[in-house]
């Protein structure tokens, strides 16, 4: 039955409407990924009004290829403007932008795109093979497990702080505090909102990323003249070294893809956090000398998050197809699309709708490959952006930053917030404070708070002695122990 369904899915996927739909989604996704502020959620929201006019095969071909392409092309602005094309590429900027500044953009981008394809395909294949097997994994991660996983992520802040751990921890604490702005999720008490409705839902991620990372670069770019500090580099030297770096780091690619799939599959964790986890793991697994290079243009710092964020797209579909529970914002819209088409995701996706499930996997594999192919082809011309004069780049960059923030949350205060975080980001950059820990604290803080509150209300303090939290605590103790020993070794 499965083989028949697979053949049927293969046949349908290569019909003109479905394949054409996939190419359309691919084209849209490449644009939505490359333009800062536009993202996969916005892209598929715009498609939602037309979904009911399409067959499920065509509708999901367009939507899933759009998502895959966004996860691939969002690497461009991360490299050139220090701003992720969408939040899931936030971890890529840590080493992607320094690579571009070192004139190494072509090698870094090639590696990023190649591992994006591999990660995306691993994500799709895991979805195909392990959908029934992953259901218990999703069920095993209730609030206590999610809380511990998030705390483990917060510990990672120390790895994102370079050689200034104290500053990193303080920035992380500031991020945690910013994450508390808004209505308390349990009691509804307004915190730091100053009676403003705008702040009641908390600060928004996109304006913070844009302000914190992109605006300071505009100032710095104005002073430097161009993104790359080297005046000339042979573009031809980037492609094969990029591919070779991927092959050399194949286990990191695979590990990060697994992190991405699992992160995507656990509702509430998602691709952005998973990419930071993968980055943290890459730093953790590096040798002492290599570790010093992270944050300064280390290719492993690009490979790990890129593999994870593409793999998370397949992972996000697991709870959606298995339980009708979206793993993140993108799959929440996909759930709406399912319901608009009169399909209830669940066991029937492995039964009478199996050919649709297979078709979704095929589309994910194909669109990841095609998106990577297109991006690699345009990498060489795109890498020239790094050598453009700043007076050409700055107006476009400013427009993208402000437009992107505003689109994410259309309100005049969004622009004020973006500028305020721009000022904060500029001073942090000048005073050599890492900005990534602030972002990680901001993203993970609310997750930690909410899951802790649910854990305490549901299980009391006994949640700490469940098996997965115990394992997480052991891992945390080990991480702290290793970090302290390394610190003592240095001194």
């Amino acid at each position: 039955m499965a083989l028949e369904a697979f053949h049927e899915a293969l046949g349908i996927t290569f019909t003109l409407p479905v394949f054409g739909g996939m190419l359309l989604g691919l084209a849209l996704g490449l644009v939505f990924g490359a333009v800062p502020g536009l993202n996969a959620v916005l892209g598929i929201v715009l498609l939602l009004p037309f979904v009911w006019t399409l067959s499920p095969f065509v509708a999901f071909a367009i939507m899933l290829s759009l998502v895959s392409a966004v996860h691939t092309s969002n690497t461009f602005p991360a490299f050139f403007f220090n701003v992720p094309g969408s939040p899931s590429a936030a971890a890529t900027i840590l080493d992607g932008y320094p690579m571009a500044r070192n004139g190494d953009a072509a090698r870094g981008l090639t590696a990023a795109f190649a591992v994006s394809a591999v990660g995306g395909i691993i994500g799709a294949l895991v979805l195909l093979v392990a959908l029934p097997a992953l259901q218990p994994v999703v069920l095993a991660f209730a609030a206590p497990e999610r809380f511990m996983l998030v705390v483990l992520g917060i510990l990672m802040i120390s790895f994102l702080s370079g050689t200034k751990p104290v500053k990193g921890l303080l920035a992380g604490a500031m991020g945690l505090w910013l994450g508390t702005v808004g209505q308390d999720p349990q009691l509804g008490v307004a915190r730091f909102t100053f009676d403003s409705d705008y702040l009641l839902d908390g600060l928004h991620t996109v304006p913070i990323i844009m302000g914190l990372f992109a605006l300071p670069e505009v100032v710095s770019l104005a002073m430097r003249g161009s993104i790359a500090e080297r005046t000339h580099v042979d573009m031809g030297e980037g492609f094969w070294p990029g591919i070779r770096a991927c092959i050399a780091n194949r286990w990191l690619v695979a590990r990060s893809a697994v992190v991405g799939v699992v992160g995507g599959a656990i509702p509430g964790i998602g691709g952005t956090a998973a990419a930071f986890y993968a980055y943290g793991m890459a730093v953790q697994g590096a040798g002492a000398a290599e570790r010093e290079r992270f944050g300064k243009g280390e290719i492993k710092g690009v490979i790990a998050p890129e593999s994870a964020n593409n793999a998370s797209a397949g992972g996000e579909l697991v709870p959606l197809l298995a339980f009708g529970v979206p793993g993140g914002a993108t799959s929440a819209i996909l759930l709406a699309a399912f319901l608009i088409l009169g399909i209830n995701p669940g066991p029937e996706m492995l039964g009478e709708k199996l050919s649709l499930s297979f078709s979704m996997v095929i589309v994910l594999v194909l669109s990841n490959l095609l998106a990577t192919g297109v991006c690699i082809v345009i990498t060489r011309p795109a890498a020239r952006i790094a050598f453009l004069r700043s007076n050409l780049l700055i107006p476009a960059l400013l427009l993208f930053v402000l437009f992107g923030s505003y689109v994410a949350y259309p309100h005049p205060l969004t622009l004020v917030l973006t500028l305020a975080f721009g000022v904060l980001g500029y001073f942090m950059m000048r005073l050599d404070w890492a900005r990534a820990p602030l972002l990680v604290g901001f993203i993970l803080g609310p997750l930690a708070e909410n899951n802790l509150a649910i854990s305490l209300a549901s299980y009391g303090v006994a949640f700490l002695v469940r098996p997965i939290p115990l394992v997480c605590m052991a891992v945390m103790a080990l991480v702290v122990f290793v970090a302290v020993r390394r610190g003592m070794g240095r001194t």
């Binding site: 929201v45 069920l139 409705d197 705008y198 839902d201 209830n344």
Partner: protein, 347 residues
């Protein structure tokens, strides 16, 4: 002769009134030709209110003379207040509509919404109501109202944000029904709560019967007996597949001993009966309001709309403009004592 003249006079008057009203209606109809109606959904994309807004944007235009276009604009924030305020303060031209959850009106009683007078909105009808039920995991021993009140260990009930119906309903169970419950709050809507129920993180949920049937996790758990519906809370008629089962359940209103609490619950459950209203900006010209109300009523009777909505999992307990308005605004007619009690129960 005099009578004859009087009859002719009356006929003339009727003809003039009919002509004036026809001209006015035709004018209003002309108004909509080539225009775009914006349906504001004050919640994020992908949820049930968003999907219903999109469905109405698709079907309403063909029931409005002039066949305007219609689009959906998601304006989430502050539990729906930001979107509602945008329509409340919009130009009263009949081009701005909103679809929101009716229990939001209670927030103007509790002081949560100060700058919106719900009585001034132009109510257009309600496309659905919810029948709330209490669903419990079968591994809990409680089955009767007395069991819920005297449960040995608190029943863990999933809850969402403070202004969500998914939190307000269990608060009634706990405070008016005196059930031994522990609210586990913080779930972002019904889907994660359903997963938590499957994970045995919560023992129960208090939600619309239709939600139990639409969500894959709870639908399967209901089918295989992992969860049971144990109490009918009230509201609109239950969805067809649950009708017989719900009819046999004990009623929540019978569990409430205090008469004031009971009155407060009855008023609140009225809101559940019209939980999916559409409204337009206050102060609309009468003829445009009439066109929108009629368009909405015609759309709700349209078999194609009904079939599409049902296929998407919606339970259509439709109410016309007047019925919806009366039910929703009835909370403002409660005595001061009951209003106070309602506030206390939902605090």
């Amino acid at each position: 002769m005099k009578t004859h003249l009087r009859i002719r006079g009356i006929m003339l008057l009727v003809a003039v009134v009919a002509l004036v009203s026809a001209v006015a209606t035709a004018g209003a109809a002309d108004f909509y030709a080539g225009k775009t109606i914006t349906i504001v959904c004050p919640y994020s994309t992908g949820g049930t209110y968003d999907r219903m807004s999109r469905l109405v944007a698709r079907f309403l235009p063909k029931h409005i003379p002039g066949n305007p276009a219609a689009i959906v604009n998601n304006r989430p924030g502050a539990g729906g207040v930001i979107g509602l305020r945008s329509v409340y303060k919009a130009e009263p031209d009949g081009l701005s509509l909103i679809h929101f959850t009716s229990p939001m009106v209670v927030r103007s009683l509790t002081g949560g919404i100060k700058d919106i007078d719900f009585k001034r909105l132009t109510w257009l009808g309600s496309v659905g109501g919810a029948h709330y039920i209490f669903a419990l995991r079968s591994n809990r021993p409680e089955r009767t109202i007395a069991d819920f009140k005297n449960a040995e260990t608190p029943i863990r009930v999933g809850a969402s944000g403070p202004s969500s119906l998914l939190t307000q309903a269990p608060k009634f169970l706990q405070r008016a029904g005196k059930f031994n419950l522990r609210l586990v709050a913080g779930y972002k809507g019904y889907n994660p709560m359903a997963l938590a129920m499957k994970q045995d993180e919560v023992d129960a949920v208090s939600t619309a019967g239709s939600a139990v049937m639409v969500n894959t996790a709870t639908r399967e758990m209901h089918k295989d007996g992992t969860i049971k519906l144990v109490l009918s809370m009230g509201g609109a008629p239950p969805p067809e597949p649950l009708k017989a089962e719900v009819a046999a359940l004990p009623k929540f209103v019978d569990a409430i001993d205090d008469p004031q609490d009971r009155d407060a619950w009855v008023a609140f459950s009225g809101l559940l009966s019209a939980s999916r209203p559409f409204a337009a900006t206050p102060g609309l010209p009468a003829e445009r309001a009439a066109i929108l109300k009629k368009g909405m009523a015609d759309m709700m009777a349209d078999p194609e709309f009904r079939k599409t909505a049902t296929d998407q999992g919606f339970v259509l307990n439709t109410l016309n403009a007047e019925e919806a308005e009366n039910l929703i605004l009835s909370v403002f007619n409660l005595s001061a004592d009951i209003q106070e009690r309602l506030k206390a129960l939902l605090k």
